[in-house]
Amino acid sequence: MKEANKMKIGAILLGCVLGLSLIGITRTVLASGWSGREMEQESYEQERNESERYEHERNEYRRQEAETRPMSAVQQAYVEECGSCHMAYPAGLLPPQSWDKIMKGLEDHFGENAELDDQTRAELSRYLQQASAPREGQYRRMIRNLDQQAPMRITELPYFRHKHREIPSRFIQGNDKVGSLSQCDSCHRGAQRGWFDEDSVVIPGVGRRDG
């Protein structure tokens, strides 16, 4: 690169830094004109708004990604075998010890026979173990306050119960289109794809939830 070009880039960079610090100083000076309390409030709200917006954008991105990502062969097998009597519950909703218990008792599965041949069972067990509720990421909240317990139902998880404690039973058992909380997909429209954020909840016959 020519010496002259290097100089030019240097000058541009310097200009940027100077410009930015000027903006920063002006803002500080302006801001210090307000009372400290107001400023604290302001910055707290700004922070919250920003983090909410960030959360929202991230959710939106995850949703789109989840909806367009093609299913792997084992995921297809999972939906085929575990999605015919109810929606195929995303593996991330239960911890590994729960899946283990469920997969060992398929002959008497909540009063039904969900038997699989040994090979399919082994393959799906492996998949569920590996994709089960992680300590990190989207589903980490599902296993909050659980330790090593192995509940057989998602609907028995403390976090799940907490999140659904306020829904009146006339919206669930008394609702022809729902029947029980186990039917996630009747209220969470993104459930099939592992999507459960509050924004996409519509209780049938009740409509969108406010707040």
Binding site: C85, H86, F110, A114, E115, Q183
Partner: protein, 129 residues
């Protein structure tokens, strides 16, 4: 012109090949049970079996009052697609699937496995609907 042709061909495949394929697939399964000792198919008997009650349970508890229409799982309320071949050409195309559900559903509904003859009769009725 071209997309229209492709669409037409696609529709032909769906309308002619799929049902024919399903029909032959159901027929093949029936032959299979007959080679295990079942006699000729009796669709009327299949229909009787389908609606026969064991306590409160029958095949129609989940598959609904008519095989031409969608059913609903008795406990989870998940919709189940129609069983009649004419309405749902994807039916009985996988022997593994058909056998698996006969085993589960006969046990759940009647408390025992279905015999080869019962499967022949039921499948012949469903595929004639």
């Amino acid at each position: 012109m071209k997309p229209g042709l492709v669409l037409l061909c696609g529709m032909l495949v769906v309308n002619v090949w799929l049902p024919a394929h399903a029909q032959s697939s159901a027929a093949k399964q029936i032959k299979g049970w007959q080679s295990q000792g079942a006699a000729a198919a009796d669709p009327q008997q299949g229909k009787l079996l389908w609606f026969s009650k064991h306590g409160v349970r029958s095949c129609s508890s989940c598959h609904g009052a008519s095989p031409l229409e969608a059913g609903q799982h008795a406990k989870t309320r998940k919709p189940i697609k129609p069983m009649a071949l004419s309405k749902n050409p994807a039916r009985f195309t996988s022997q593994r699937k058909t056998e698996k559900w006969f085993r589960r559903n006969c046990k759940w509904t009647w408390g025992r496995e279905c015999t080869a003859q019962e499967k022949v009769d039921i499948l012949s009725w469903l595929s004639s609907q």
